[in-house]
Symmetry: C2
Subunit: 255 residues, 2 copies
DNA sequence: TAGAACTGTGTATAACATAAACCAATTGCT
DNA sequence: AGCAATTGGTTTATGTTATACACAGTTCTA
């Protein structure tokens, strides 16, 4: 464990390098031969690979080969694979949306935020996979956080509530994106179908043990729903629940 | 791609073996030497390793070593690591809860389900990590699904709505568990703190670019909240939103 | 112009999953 | 009882992975 100095707003060791890269804080070197690569180019190539061939196909060798360089050449730009993935995630998510133009207050604003976040996630399925757990936060991701919290300004919610609200929406959208998303390495879109087929197969065999699943599936099978319908359904429930809280803050007498 | 026969309720290839293992469908062999290991023992050992040393430390060699066996010995019991992980996940989640005794209708029942699911997930942080994406469903996991759907019986929701509702709650709880969870390999409990510290550090440096994050954090910093408060907050919003929908189904005249 | 800093390469290592061949133990069948 | 089929565990081997280290060539600066 390399802790190093843990100053006030300081980051320690491994993470510090990640943050430096993510936030573009490396001093531009002047001496030495011209670099044949760019951080942006490397990141873009890595994203391209992960998008088309799946996250399992992403290796340092694979990325280096697309440039005709040796594997080790990449280590002149990136400290390690972890950091590269962090870069990939933040780049893939992209800059946060500007929701100032969305009319109608917090509700359509937060909804728009959620739908755009979802779109960004399903565009790069591996991002949700790699996002799990503790890792350095990139500027884009922090920007998304800020945009989401901005949608909640003026709602009367406390700071903690606003943060928890964003965690609620984020967790939900991320989770849905994970489930919607493709198989590792396979073409997009297949997964939902395969998953449904597998569940159907299991229910067909062991359905008697799981009556509630069987019943719900049977009833739902009659009316197939569109791709985003499920996401919208949950989002509306969340927004309704939020509306209730926000209204109760504005009209405390109604309880 | 080994598709094989894709019958009606049939599963194909690689997945079929996973399902067989998960659902305990292997014919007990009679001839040959006595097995020195058990699927259950192997799974338990693997879980122990993942729990204490993190998912990164889980390797076939590491598992085999705990029994004093060769790595390859494991392959007599498990087709591969993927299948072992699937077993681990289903075992770690454990049998579904019986919520019949919970009084008060769907709302406390679903809440209880969510809290227990959350508890099961945070007990084994790696489970949420491995659960991502397409994989074989185990009996315990399907049991949890059934228990959750059962809580929604009699609510007047359609089959599709009940499924979407469960997806909503599951996605949220899973997402929260992921964020709450420990660093890979590190001791549990550190993560939340480290994450908060990192965000604080970033805001300290780049806060001016992210006023909403800064404001929310500053406001929230005054009143530190308990571990499960965040989870409960979002859950209550979801339940409120659901209640609105369910009520509107019962009293259609009120809009 | 000499040296320092930097880039890309070649080589090496350790960990990993897993395949194939092999021996020994056990049991069912004859 | 004995043989053959079956299975468990080991040995050995292969291909892939990330990444450390030393070196050669390049370019800027003092």
């Amino acid at each position: 464990m390399d802790q190093g100095n843990t100053g006030d707003g300081d980051l320690f060791g491994e993470e510090a390098r990640s943050v430096e890269l993510l936030w573009g804080e490396r001093a531009g070197p002047s001496r030495g031969p011209k670099p044949g690569l760019t951080l942006a180019a490397i990141t873009a190539a890595a994203i391209e690979i992960a998008d088309t061939e799946g996250p399992a196909a992403l290796s340092m060798q694979r990325v280096a080969k697309t440039f005709g360089f040796t594997t080790m050449a990449l280590y002149r730009y990136v400290p390690g694979k972890r950091e590269l993935v962090a870069l990939m995630v933040d780049t893939a998510i992209g800059p946060p949306p500007d929701l100032a133009a969305v009319p109608g207050g917090w509700r359509p604003r937060l909804a728009e935020w959620a739908m755009r976040f979802w779109a960004a996630l399903v565009r790069h399925p591996w991002a949700t996979r790699s996002t799990a757990g503790h890792r350095a936060l990139g500027p884009n991701e922090l920007g998304w956080m800020d945009a989401g919290l901005r949608a909640l300004e003026g709602t009367g919610l406390t700071g903690a509530e606003r943060l928890d609200t964003l965690a609620l929406v984020t967790s939900y959208v991320r989770g849905m994106a994970q489930q919607t998303v493709t198989v590792a390495g396979g073409p997009a879109g297949t997964d939902e179908h395969a998953m449904a087929k597998m569940i159907a197969g299991l229910v067909h065999r062991y359905g008697d043990r799981h009556p509630a699943v069987t019943a719900a599936l049977a009833e739902a099978a009659a009316v197939p729903e569109a791709q985003e319908t499920g996401l919208r359904y949950g989002l509306d429930r969340i927004l309704d629940g939020l509306a209730r809280l926000i209204d109760s803050r504005r009209h405390p007498e109604r309880s």
